[in-house]
């Protein structure tokens, strides 16, 4: 299913690694934009949660990321391409409970090893490509109908 040619909305954002004071800004902005378009609330919620988890991963683990947000009549796609340490063992990182977070991250209420699994739960399609020492690209696709 491809409707790439019918992009209704395309925005780009930047997320800075380590910038905890602005963490969540991209996902909450995307949520507001989807609300304005009028998508069903369950679709908006799934997109917002998946994006927020991915955004927090960038803030916690990467140096920076370019985020592309695209809406077509059938899909919502959020792609986060980061520059950073990458993921050494993706299969392990996808397991609930596995985390390499520091105590500082845990004190903020994160680092429970739920991030990637929770992105997967909320996305209809999830594609992750990672290279150690280079970075990770996370492509989240949500079907626009419920």
């Amino acid at each position: 299913m491809s409707d790439e040619g019918q992009i209704m909305l395309r925005e780009t954002f930047t997320v800075a690694g380590g910038d905890f004071s602005h963490a969540g800004r991209v996902s909450t902005t995307i949520k507001s934009m989807l609300k304005q378009i009028g998508f069903p609330s369950a679709v908006i919620r799934r997109t917002a949660i998946a994006t927020y988890e991915a955004e927090m991963n960038v803030v916690v683990y990467a140096d920076r990321a370019d985020v592309t947000f695209e809406v077509t009549p059938k899909t919502i796609r959020v792609t986060l391409a980061d520059q950073g340490q990458g993921i050494a063992d993706l299969e392990l990182a996808m397991q609930e409970g596995f985390s390499t977070a520091t105590d500082e991250i845990r004190e903020m209420g994160f680092g429970a090893g739920m991030g990637l699994p929770n992105i997967k739960r909320n996305a209809d399609e999830l594609e992750i490509n990672s290279e150690v020492g280079v970075g990770t690209t996370v492509k989240i696709t949500i079907n626009a109908g419920e």
Partner: protein, 120 residues
């Protein structure tokens, strides 16, 4: 019950969004772990937590949580309250423990606002 009744039962203090006092609250989720709120919390719930940073507000926003009650007498910083106000998210503080606050909400008939799966 209304948010106003929640505040009364928890003997709490509302820090913003007074206009939402009559909002209906039916479900509660409670956690200090925002990862779990995102994974298991349900839309429309009141979040009871001891975590008072900006990520509690962001988490509530993205997960469609309708209000936050901060427990253990913890008070969010002014910028966190400002963020909650901007998002239209009522936040209150109370001196109860997480356990006591949950117990009171449960006693008054509020349901569990979380989707827990079978242990794996």
């Amino acid at each position: 019950m209304t948010l106003n009744e929640v505040i009364h039962i928890l003997d709490g203090e509302l820090l913003c969004c007074d206009e939402k006092m009559s909002m209906e609250i039916t479900d509660v989720c409670a956690s200090d772990l925002m990862s779990d709120v995102l994974a298991f919390g349900t839309a429309g719930s009141l979040l009871i937590t001891g975590l008072t940073n900006a990520q509690s507000v962001n988490t509530a926003d993205v997960a469609d949580i309708v209000a936050i009650a901060y427990v253990r007498g913890k008070r969010p910083a002014d910028d966190v309250v400002r963020l909650a106000k901007e998002r239209g998210l009522p936040v209150l503080v109370c001196a109860l423990s997480l356990y006591e606050a949950c117990g009171k909400m449960y006693e008054h008939g509020l349901a569990a606002g979380s989707e827990i799966r079978e242990p794996q």
